[in-house]
């Protein structure tokens, strides 16, 4: 069995042998499969529209249409990962959950890996759960994967999204809200304050429900997990990981200084000069903490752990892996790279550069990552030449993490010739080792 597992894992690895190391190759996306999935879900969506409540049907339709457009875009943008082996693995974990929870057998669960690097998972409607690679690669074992899935499945079967839509439509159409809107419309003065008060009340209510939904999904998720053969502490361990997930792990300034300093194009301090002050793009803005807390969609992770801990305190020790540890490990590894590739493919060069430089600290000289840095620099050069760079990069902003802002400012500080100089000389510095790697050659020749 172990030999079989190991062989499966090897087949899964999107890495090819190169000299003494393995080089990542992005999995080819199956466009036919994506199209067929869109068609399937579109039929489902159309059927769903016919079954919407007749009262306020136009309102419901508009919201469901907006939700469908989001679902469609996930497939159109090729965000859904179509690797058969990865899908088999995810299906196997879901199947393990369903097997132990007969109540789920009546539900059509459609779980996919999303190529997004954002550490998140979500239920997006039509029975579709997206498990972002950015989250998967941060998890430590399969029981944590299982908890994430149990949590999202709970959102689905508890109809949280649908209930929120119903609540919103009925609230906005309620006599109380309509009377208030009529009163505000007739008023000559003080409309803004009255509208603010009304919308704040509705928003606070909605966010409170959203936090309640999370707590419910946590509880039900643990209940589902407890029925499986997975370790129940996967739940609290996952929440602990989520609690730390936004913390910067790399000193980006040091990373740029070290990684992009070449003899042919030495590092210059002006590359990382930070624009300070309120208008410099990285201001620390004062927050209205009570208001922000009221608007949070998720309860605090530590509070969530405290709520779940008693539920799993007496759970029997079970297994961290039921499907395949080797495949789990190989996927985690591959996903670190797939998010680099997807960020670039989805025209977010700065995300791709951030992931690449971060990963290079873990895997120095990695052929794919080195080539990717050159590819991004070449891409920025070409985009700036055609005055479209603004479509491919993000700008420094007060809401971005500090380290990412360092990288964003770095890109802002570069002149056209810097992109060419840094890219070319960075690749040149690695040419001896990587010359026979075809991807490298393509970028080096640019």
């Amino acid at each position: 069995m172990k030999v079989l597992n190991a062989l499966t894992a090897l087949c899964l690895l999107p890495f090819v042998g190169y000299a003494q190391s393995q080089i990542f190759t992005p999995a080819a996306q199956n466009e036919a499969s994506l199209k067929s999935l869109v068609s399937k879900y579109e039929l489902q969506y159309n059927a769903e529209l016919n079954n919407l409540p007749s009262k306020y049907k136009a309102d419901y339709k508009e919201i469901y249409k907006s939700r469908w457009e989001n679902i469609r875009s996930v497939f159109d943008k090729k965000e859904v990962y179509t690797s058969t082996a990865a899908q088999h693995y995810l299906d196997a974990v879901v199947s393990e959950i369903v097997k132990s929870n007969p109540v789920l057998k009546d539900y059509q669960l459609n779980c996919y890996f999303s190529r997004s690097g954002v550490p998140n998972a979500s239920y997006i409607g039509e029975g579709i759960i997206l498990f972002n690679m950015g989250l998967f690669q941060r998890l430590d074992n399969e029981s944590e994967v299982a908890f994430i899935l149990c949590h999202e499945i709970s959102h689905y079967i508890l109809k949280h999204t649908e209930n929120s839509i119903t609540r919103y439509v009925t609230t906005m159409n309620s006599e109380a809200v309509q009377d208030e809107l009529r009163r505000i419309k007739k008023a000559d003065y003080g409309k803004r304050e009255a509208i603010d008060k009304l919308t704040k009340g509705i928003t606070f209510n909605s966010r409170r429900h959203s936090r309640d939904h999370e707590a419910q999904a946590d509880s039900m998720g643990v209940a589902l997990l407890l029925n499986t053969r997975f370790n129940a502490d996967g739940a609290t361990k996952t929440l602990a990981i989520l609690d730390d997930i936004d913390k910067d792990s790399v000193d980006m300034e040091a990373c740029i200084r070290k990684e992009l300093n070449t003899s042919g194009y030495p590092f210059q301090n002006r590359w990382i000069t930070k624009n300070t002050g309120l208008l410099g793009g990285q201001a620390k803005l004062k927050k209205d903490q009570p208001l922000e807390d009221s608007l949070k969609t998720h309860p605090d992770c530590k509070a969530r752990i405290a709520l779940l801990a008693p539920m799993i305190a007496n759970a029997a020790a079970k297994q961290d892996y039921l499907v395949n540890k080797a495949v789990f490990d190989s996927l985690r590894q591959a996903f670190k790279y797939e998010i680099v590739e997807y960020a670039f493919a989805s025209d977010n060069y700065t995300y791709s550069l951030h992931y690449s430089l971060t990963l290079l600290q873990q895997y120095p000289q990695d052929p794919y990552l080195v080539t990717q840095v050159g590819r991004i620099m070449n891409g920025c050069f070409a985009a700036q030449k055609t005055h479209t760079l603004g479509k491919f990069i993000e700008l420094p902003a007060p809401y971005q993490p500090a380290n990412y802002n360092v990288l964003l400012q770095f890109v802002q500080n570069l002149y056209l010739e810097d992109f060419a100089g840094i890219g070319y000389n960075y690749l040149k510095a690695h040419a001896t080792q990587l010359n026979s790697y075809p991807g490298f050659q393509n970028e080096f020749k640019c």
């Binding site: 304050e193 002006r270 309120l278 410099g280 201001a283 603004g390 700008l395 007060p398 002149y415």
Partner: protein, 521 residues
Amino acid sequence: MIRQLFTVALFVCMFVTNTEGQSKLTVDKVYAAYLQNSGVIIEQGQIKGYFYLYQSDKIDRRTNEYTLQIVDENLNKVQDIKFEDTKKLSLLEAAYNGSSLAFLFKNEEEKMLQMKVYDLDGKLKFTYSRPYSKKTDGLMAQYETMHTDEGMNQSVFNLGDKGYISVLPLRDGRDQTYEVDMYSSEKKKQWTYIPEGDDQKFAMAEYLGATDSLVILEVIRKNRRMSGSGTAHLVGINPMTKKKVFDIDDEKDKWTFVPSSVLPVAGTGKFIAMGNYFDKDANIAKDASKGLAIYEIDNSGNILNKTYNSWAVDIAKHLPMNTKGKIDNIGYLYIHKMIATANGKFFIVGEGYKKQASAGGIALTALGAMAGGVQNQGVTKVVVTDLVVMEFDGAYKIKDAKIYDKTNNTVVGGPMSDYISQHTLAMYIKMVGSFDYQFTTGNPEENNFVICYSDFVKSSDYKGETFNSIRYNGTKFSQDKIELKSKASRMKVLPAKSGSVLVIEYFKKDKKLEFRLEKLG
């Protein structure tokens, strides 16, 4: 244009989105905020952000609630300032000094000009008010008619971290003068500099720049008892002592120097002034200048060095021109910008303009005459021609010059162009914003700057407007062009933070307005 487009954008953004059905009341059917006006926030001649003042509510018959939204140089909203004020309020200009923001408001109800200084958390620190009257009509007219490069301010400027100044034109009967107001951002303190003396009855001042201890103005003075165009002065005022430090008029000099721009030289206690120079008895508004003069002046007003580059000899070595400063096929040069780079180089950007026979005007005048009419349709027109970039050495002598071709652009036609002098025409072209030169951006302290101008191209590949840039990277110049006809229904390129432009594309079909910052070439 920036205001109009931003108006659309914000108007759209301000609606609270919702997904209500048509028959019911929705938030956007009940409430909308209206953009009053918007503009750039300037610090030391660079765009640092943007402001949007919108009327967010009506409080009573005479009072509105306003929201002043502050957007940073990367288009992030960083502050919303709410306040109540008269419904007859407009925001004229804004400036930033790193530790505070200043806004010059016009309160029509109380007939007051109000300078409000806010801290970076959006808290009002000080309000400075002064009445406005017929005396300050010139300022209001300036806002309605004047065109400035780079979307820059006309009246309000920051004085490092000390505060802000405004330079106001004043008219009293037939007298015309000016005043300089200083507003502290550290403590509530304001003072006004008013020029004194008989020779100040006709004095027009233009802010040229500031050093750590000086506000430098170009002042054109004319004593009504005298005829002629008046005299040009470079006036330095110490904003702390409220005293005039110098008033350079070149009376004893061989030439009359008319400064048009100054550049402080950081850390040296001196600045450079550049402008045209004329014969001593020349009429500076009508007569041809002799060439370009560059003065090095210390902060006490001592002229350390004077360098003259004559059209006839010095500049003619690099450009084909006559003794009156007219360049073949280009005409006269209007000087737009002076740029000093860290590597000791010095550049001047000019643009050609000339009178040209107007075929249409001649034909119409001739036809009119044949019909017995006496009306002159204008037999000449004024065209704006090519862009010229001149390079000067460390001694401020011209070293090189290059002409950048662009399509001639007719800006003035009719009888006006027949009778008005070349220089007056240039002032008029500048005032109405008809030069193709747009702005210069970048970091000269990093030996990097970009000169931007518009053009109209007629070629087999493309016919339409273009946004052009000439970039200096410390060693050489390179050119770039953005074609303004794109998939978008409308495209506009506007000045933005240093080294970048703001590209705005409007897609009519999708009713979508897209903004993005683009780094220049």
